[in-house]
Amino acid sequence: MKIQKISENVYEIPKEGKMNVPVRIFASEKILKSIEKDKTLLQAKNMAEMPGVVKWVVVLPDAHQGYGACIGGVSAYDLKKGVVSPGQTGYDINCGVRLLVSDIKLVDFMKKRKDIMKSLGKDIPSGVGVKSGFSFSPKEIDLVLKNGVKWAFEKGFATKEDVSNIEDEGCIADADYSKVSARAKGRGMHQLGSLGAGNHFMEIGVVEEIYDKKTAKVFGIDCVGKVTFLIHSGSRGLGHQVASDHIKKMEEEYGFDKLPDRELACAPINSELGRDYLSAMRGAANFGFVNRQLLTFSLREIIKKYFPKNSLDLVYDIAHNIIKIEKHNINGKMQDVCVHRKGATRSFGPGRLEIPLKYRKTGSPIFIPGSMGTYSYVLVGTKKAEELTFGSTAHGAGRLISRSEAARTITPAQLGKELHDKDIILESGGLKGAVDEAPSAYKDVNEVVRVSHELGIGKMVARLKPLGVVKG
């Protein structure tokens, strides 16, 4: 595969063969070397062969091999000639991250840390086969799909401030619950309000370093020593089923023989099936926002027991697996395109109307969690990202080695020691599962964030050091 260096941290696979556009890789030399080891770039090339894809396919610094499309990949489609492809945003629709900040003093938190972590481990529903503890009727689920966090606000699970600090105010328009199958609703309804398993987590941290004081102040994290709460989860089984259902329908309707990968099943954006999928996906996304909101509600109830006078304020909540119609500059012309983000966080610079009023002058808040035991970062969106990456940057550290390799090379005892040495408390169903997500199974988050910052596709605002992790 031919890879050309364009400039520092920017590489390109030029258009060749069946590719409709080139692939742009935003990575350091070190990261590129690890990306080249698996099928990430082959998957990006496949994305570049899709009909109606515009400008270039984006590969971000945390990219790794996925299924169909790579993780850390972004592609945009012309609304008339392009397609919508569920595999290019993944099964975990609206997997995303929210950050909450408290005015709890670090020294006070540390005194109660052990008890708080135990309470979280016990009362935050996580892991597999676990029901959320909330119980909603099928009719309520339809309202969740339609109204998102507005529904949660009406039910007393969200504050007004919460609503205004979520991407699209936690309610994506044009969601249609009638396009979500009974099977999908059946999978999701008892899971609403639960963390899930795999790489999903809740992380308590502390602001350790601030790089951009002015922006940090607007984000409410202007003071070193503030205790923070990160929640990473998605739309649970409901979203997975929405993707599965529509991949099946699309390949039945449009076939898959001409596709570079069967997992890239797609339908024209402007078709009944394309519209149906987008309506169902938006419903699943609303479900994802509500899921993180209910987790926040449960978290606040627990923290209240220890710190009755402190509130947890939502900084922002942003998806990293989602499809959006957005305006972007395509070959010198601003036009609406259908942006598919898979393991990519939206990074919009100052002025974009999609950003909550509170952050419209700074750019959108971005959260890049590391793996357990490493730092998490807060960044801010930029105009440069709009220019280079359809307004996107990384979403995490990105896996370095497979789960089976992690299980072979890292023992639960090693992981336990590493976390102990770093003074991080882990609450997890089992250490065997936690090994899959061990810090050494991931790329160096510091390097990923550094590249994003140097490229200017997401600028560093603050660094958070983890104190405790509840693993799904």
């Binding site: 698996d38 299924y67 099964y91 597999v128 086969g129 899930g196 599965s244």
Partner: protein, 168 residues
């Protein structure tokens, strides 16, 4: 291996037992195997026919859920699926195992699969054995099957092989 060959020559009881164990183990090892995949879980399953490949895929799925542990057989579930190609049928088959897990908290141990083909339609009659997920403390989740890198094909030795990547 030498002792195994000796079993042919001598018909010694101990050697014959070794011989049987040796080939049973080859067979055991060949039911399915996991392959490297950075983000998700990839496996290959084998069988003398497509039905057996499906059964061995169920073993692989059980192995993912149980993190290579054992799942008891305290209950069973039945379902029937129809598709017009093997890959779609396998996708739906794995999805059904995930659905049973998510909705009924039923985790698969193994499956019996009978396939029939008529007028281009392939039907799978499936009997799944397994246990209640709440009896296990450290299970793993599978989000979905995928079509990425998926194939079911007949090998030169007339045996069948399937490859699957599941999203975890």
């Amino acid at each position: 291996m030498l002792r195994v060959i000796n079993a042919f020559k001598t018909s010694n009881e101990v050697e014959v037992k070794l011989f049987i164990e040796y080939f049973t183990n080859i067979n055991m090892a060949k039911k399915f195997e996991f392959l490297e995949h950075t983000g998700d879980v990839k496996f290959r399953a084998y069988g003398k026919n497509v039905g057996e490949v499906f059964q061995n895929c169920a073993l692989a799925v059980s192995s993912v859920f149980s993190r290579n542990g054992e799942i008891n057989e305290t209950g069973k579930k039945e379902f029937v699926l129809s598709e017009n190609n093997y890959e779609s049928l396998l996708y739906q088959f794995i999805e059904e195992l995930i659905y049973l897990f998510d909705v009924d908290a039923f985790v698969v141990s193994r499956a019996e699969v009978k396939l029939t083909e008529e007028n281009g339609k392939i039907t799978a009659y499936v009997l799944v054995y397994g246990d209640d997920a709440s009896n296990y403390s450290d299970l793993d989740a599978i989000k979905a099957p995928t079509y990425a890198e998926m194939y079911i094909k007949r090998l030169n030795n007339k045996k069948w092989e399937a490859q699957v990547v599941v999203d975890v």
